[in-house]
Symmetry: C2
């Protein structure tokens, strides 16, 4: 007998019927004699509906109040999931984030889990009940409801698996596993049997969308084995673990891409080193995530710095920069929209020099201009025009031999 | 400077625009220099939508899980109301029932408030913040989310007014006050300037629908002055207080009516007195509200008892009776649907004998058959065929001179 954490995303619980379908996946594990803790997201597009309701009242709604609002989405799902299980004769109990003992930082809209007090959950599990926990939410030290930011339900699931010392954490989603690239746009994309935490981390960070990066990081740190599976059909998914045992011969394991990237450029930087750190410390203090950073300095002493951000933080970023213009010592702020990021990922890269060069050449041969570059030991990211994003992904998928190893799998 | 509690019902917060409109009523009190605590219901028909979602999963959903589900409705409204006030430059903070310190009995779906820990609210009020509290919900001693049952937001508002020692509790609704009868069905119905707690209690219990009876009882017990007002227009409403100072010359103050009444009859009762108490104790233990009770005994030792219930507890009532058939000592259970209750209320009745007789004659003259009767010092209720309910209300409204004292007011 083991303890399994199962997580069902928004699409997997998008209707009463889908919740009943997800409940069958829970029943499968119960039949095998396992204890099960379930983490769910808000139903389908319900979070988006709440966001647009808030925006009809305020163009910049208070973040604490947004957390209060959005936390209702998962609370709806946990109760319906409990009812669906009870209807199947399975004992179940729903818990909000705070009832489950999930404590977080006091950062509205983007809190990190600091601690999980697991006693209540363990007691219910000992009573042979399925525990159903609202993902994406917790309680800070002032007893305020917080949310973990988009994709936070994955993190809740992995953190719960760690806190409950679960044997496995299964992430149920609307695709059958992790692919070499997004099969909606790259025809030859195929499902991977397994992938390492580090590779998955890069893919998750790069917008592959299957799994939230924080969740992968958490799983790596606590050694929680993950499996990404389809909630629609009962087939093998992709296992994420320390050492991916198969397909090691491939230098590149996947091609990821992400649209709506914005490049912000600060010009006329006074040439003091501390201004550069000040800029990114100020943005970090306000919880703006900056991705690629490029600094350039000309002989005329007019330094500039560019960095990429996601579209949803543009408004905050510009406001913070303007408010701190004097402190940060720059003359002008400009930004360019209509950009996308395309990346290749693979742990084999570290022992195979020239992978980045091969990537740049493949893009250049197809007249795709590279605007920014960022590399790590296991990935190379490029920022290019959004119009060429899909082209670039297909070109790179083909260039690095990711197609045709097995029959392509169609995603739903 | 005073402290006012304002309560806005579901219709008054049924859309983003209506929430903004309600926020203006809050702003009015802030401008007068008052402190304000606001209690809100779920938006419009959102509770009904959640109920039907649950019913699509389970025909008899678990009550604890229903509370978990339904409590989200008010949580949505509090956050949106806070945003609307903040957008107007008014400091505001939203609180769920448990955050506001509202503790209840452990009775899912129908809990009573046992205690309100007001420190958190008082602290926020002292910081000149408008406190916005989710109505209809609280937390029991096991830290489970409970709901107070339909109409419970009124009770939350009055309980809050008592706990905060508020100067007044204003109940904002979609009608401009308390009427002599329902103006949708009784053409001559007019708005009352004031009414006593006891009269309002009878009217509320009788299905007048403007104000929940528990809330009126609470207000009477703690001496909280209430005013029922329109959230749509800024006009005088109806004041509810200990001694209604005006219109005392009227014997009957209002005519109330309620449809979907069911008469349950138990026949072949073994003639022991304790069986009769056992029946109603058993129903009460399962939180079934019984209204009118009529016992009849024939010479043949075959006693029977009839009582009226509301439609929504029929299923529970029949199940409880069948499960306890032996204990309760009856032979058969029958029930009659298609009934309605029509009542007259007025504190002048106690000193004016013959009011009931005059009511029965008016109904008889119009060939309306009375199936059950119940009287108190300030009301007479009759159960009749639902088909004649509106007729009966109009006949009685006219009989007791409630029409034409001032110009009739059109309800929205």
């Amino acid at each position: 007998m083991g303890l399994i954490v199962q997580k069902f995303g928004g699409t997997s619980v998008g209707s009463a019927e889908r919740i009943q379908n997800a409940a069958k996946r829970v029943a499968d594990e119960i039949e095998k004699g396992n204890q099960v803790a379930v983490v769910v997201s808000a139903m389908g597009k319900s979070t988006d509906a709440l966001v647009s309701l808030a925006q009809s009242i305020s163009s910049m709604p208070n973040k604490r109040e947004m957390d209060m609002l959005l936390a209702t989405g998962e609370q709806v799902t946990i109760s319906l999931m409990a009812m669906a299980l009870q209807e199947m004769g399975i004992k179940a109990v729903s818990l909000t984030g705070w009832q489950a003992g999930i404590r977080t930082e006091a950062v509205p809209g983007n809190a990190r889990i600091t601690n999980i007090q697991n006693e209540k959950m363990m007691n219910y599990l000992d009573e042979d009940k399925v525990v159903i926990v609202a993902g994406f939410q917790g309680l800070d030290e002032h007893d305020e409801i917080t949310t973990l930011g988009r994709g936070g339900s994955d993190t809740t699931a992995v953190a719960l698996a760690a806190a409950l010392k679960a044997d496995r954490c299964d992430i149920y989603t609307d695709v059958p596993g992790v692919f070499t690239s997004d099969p909606r746009y790259v025809n030859d994309a195929r499902k991977l049997h397994s992938i390492s935490y580090d590779e998955m981390l890069e893919l998750a960070n790069l917008g592959a969308g299957v799994l939230h990066p924080r969740a992968v990081e958490f799983a790596k740190n606590y050694g929680v084995p993950l499996e990404v599976r389809s909630s629609m059909e009962n087939i093998e998914g992709t296992i994420i673990e320390e050492e991916a045992s198969m397909e090691q011969n491939l230098i590149v394991r996947g091609v990821a891409f992400e649209e709506d990237i914005i490049r912000v450029t600060l010009t006329g930087l006074s040439n003091e080193l501390h201004h550069l750190s000040q800029i990114f410390m100020t943005l970090a203090a306000e919880h703006v995530n900056v991705d690629i950073i490029i600094q350039s300095r000309t002989e005329s002493q007019q330094a500039s710095v560019s960095f990429s951000i996601k579209k949803d933080v543009l408004q905050d970023t510009i406001r913070i920069l303007e408010e701190n213009r004097v402190l940060l010592g720059f003359e002008d702020v400009e930004y360019e929209t209509g950009l996308a990021k395309v990346s290749i990922v693979g742990s084999g890269m570290v022992s195979n020099p020239g992978v980045a060069a091969r990537m740049f050449k493949a893009l250049a041969d197809n007249e795709i201009q590279i605007k920014m570059v960022s590399t790590s030991e296991i990935k190379v990211s490029t920022v290019i025009s959004q119009e060429r994003m899909i082209d670039a992904a297909n070109i790179l998928h083909n260039e690095f031999g990711l197609s045709g190893i097995e029959a392509p799998v169609e995603a739903k």
